[in-house]
Symmetry: C2
Subunit: 264 residues, 2 copies
């Protein structure tokens, strides 16, 4: 499946917060053989979010995952912006309302909060775009949201990493598993010869194995440490081919008097 | 100035590499009072890069910074893709050629490399889009590139963090400083009351201070630790206003029996 991630939050654009959610999700989406095609990071701006979700839908990914902007304050505007982008109304969702109320009631009883019951700000999190499904938040308060639009499924997740991760594991991983593809990534490190010296050979290998993605990365200096990494996405006999191509590179490196080191 | 970042690299989309370049750059761009409007992360695909650079130009940012895809191998295709997106030819740039040759000559003499002189793969890095300026790479090999297109300036930087940072410091920071704006961000932590309880007050404050961006973030649990952060971008008397608004929130938190803790 093709997946796009939409990361929403001014705190990321001003560099206050390092976004780690997209790397965490990308690893898992890839592991199950699905393709993250693009990660877009934008601020908490109604029009920007609304336009961007439309542009993403135009590219027809199977899955869109957004993170951030679901909280009780005015500047958390992901739901109103996505509703506007999809031309749907926002409406009070009873299941979302009840789950939010339950969290606050429990926290009040435990003495964690001093304000009892629902307020306008707490209710705000229960207003979802029409025809969408609330997703239980087992760690925090704001429910996530699932929306089917055209041929895409949109999952709207909270930005707080612990909440996002729990929801991703509970809701999205089962879907990724159900349509599981095949992903292989293997590699090794070498030293003593540079990336540019091996490039002529890897370029030839790319033509010999067009299904594979063969990548070299200088890790330290020009030739002190270079990484070779070969990736196969949903390739028949992928692992076998990756091993074959890697062995050819190992042979070249050895022939050129480079030193091979296995990755940890 | 409005800035967009374009991060290029399959290794980020598959979750193998955590992109730290964009956070590092965003911090510095913001510090000098400029706005990062969007961060787009895409793979090493010719058509995707080419289309995306056009879409970014349509949004008319003052500055576009790309990272990644400048190396000697076939899959490093940022320059050919951007040339195609801008409808410019790629041509051998003599300054770029000479600087690349110098790096390899020096490395060969030092015994760091076994292959002398320029090869097709090493030359590849000297083919730049027409009418562009090579940017010296003081840490690695591949030069960066500066291109003026419509009303935007495009800076094409390498993806290796040490190389990107050096080039950003040497070339981009002076430009950010020259057109320096004003950016203030201050905040504090509180506990004992939840984000949703303070939300009614911060929503009112947002109306009172429409120039400020007032944000609360639950850091731990519902009310165990919440962060308030106020941001002012190029606001006259920004610091004074931020302090004033923060003090109003401090008073509210205290009145509601919340505990205030300063950030470290």
């Amino acid at each position: 499946m093709k997946v796009e991630l939409l990361i929403i939050g001014n705190e990321i654009l001003i560099g206050k917060t390092q976004d780690t959610n997209s790397n965490w999700m990308a690893k898992r989406i890839t592991k199950y053989g699905h393709h993250v095609k693009r990660i877009t990071t934008i601020g908490d701006e109604l029009e920007t979010i609304s336009n961007t979700i439309q542009k993403i839908l135009d590219r027809k990914p199977d899955i869109i995952i957004t993170s951030g902007g679901l909280g009780p304050t005015f500047d958390d505007m992901t739901l109103v912006a996505i509703a506007s982008g999809l031309k749907r109304k926002l409406e009070l969702n009873k299941r979302a309302y009840n789950s939010i109320k339950k969290v606050y009631d429990r926290a009040y009883k435990k003495g964690l909060l001093q304000l009892e019951g629902m307020t306008k700000e707490r209710e705000k999190m229960a207003y979802l775009p029409q025809d969408s499904t609330p997703l239980p938040n087992t760690v925090g308060t704001a429910p996530g949201v699932k929306i089917n639009e055209r041929n895409s499924t949109i999952f709207i997740l909270p930005g707080v990493p612990a909440e996002l991760k729990a929801m991703f594991r509970n809701i999205i991983v089962p879907i990724l598993k159900e349509k599981k593809g095949n992903f292989i990534e293997k590699g090794f490190l070498f030293s003593g010869i540079g990336e540019s010296q091996i490039a002529a050979y890897t370029n030839k290998l790319e033509k010999k194995y067009p299904q594979l993605w063969i990548k070299t990365h200088p890790k330290i200096g020009l030739s002190v440490q270079v990484e070779v990494s070969i990736t196969a996405f949903n390739v028949e006999d992928g692992e076998e081919l990756v091993d074959k191509a890697l062995n050819e590179i190992r042979e070249i490196v050895t022939k050129l008097n480079g030193k091979i080191k296995e990755r940890e």
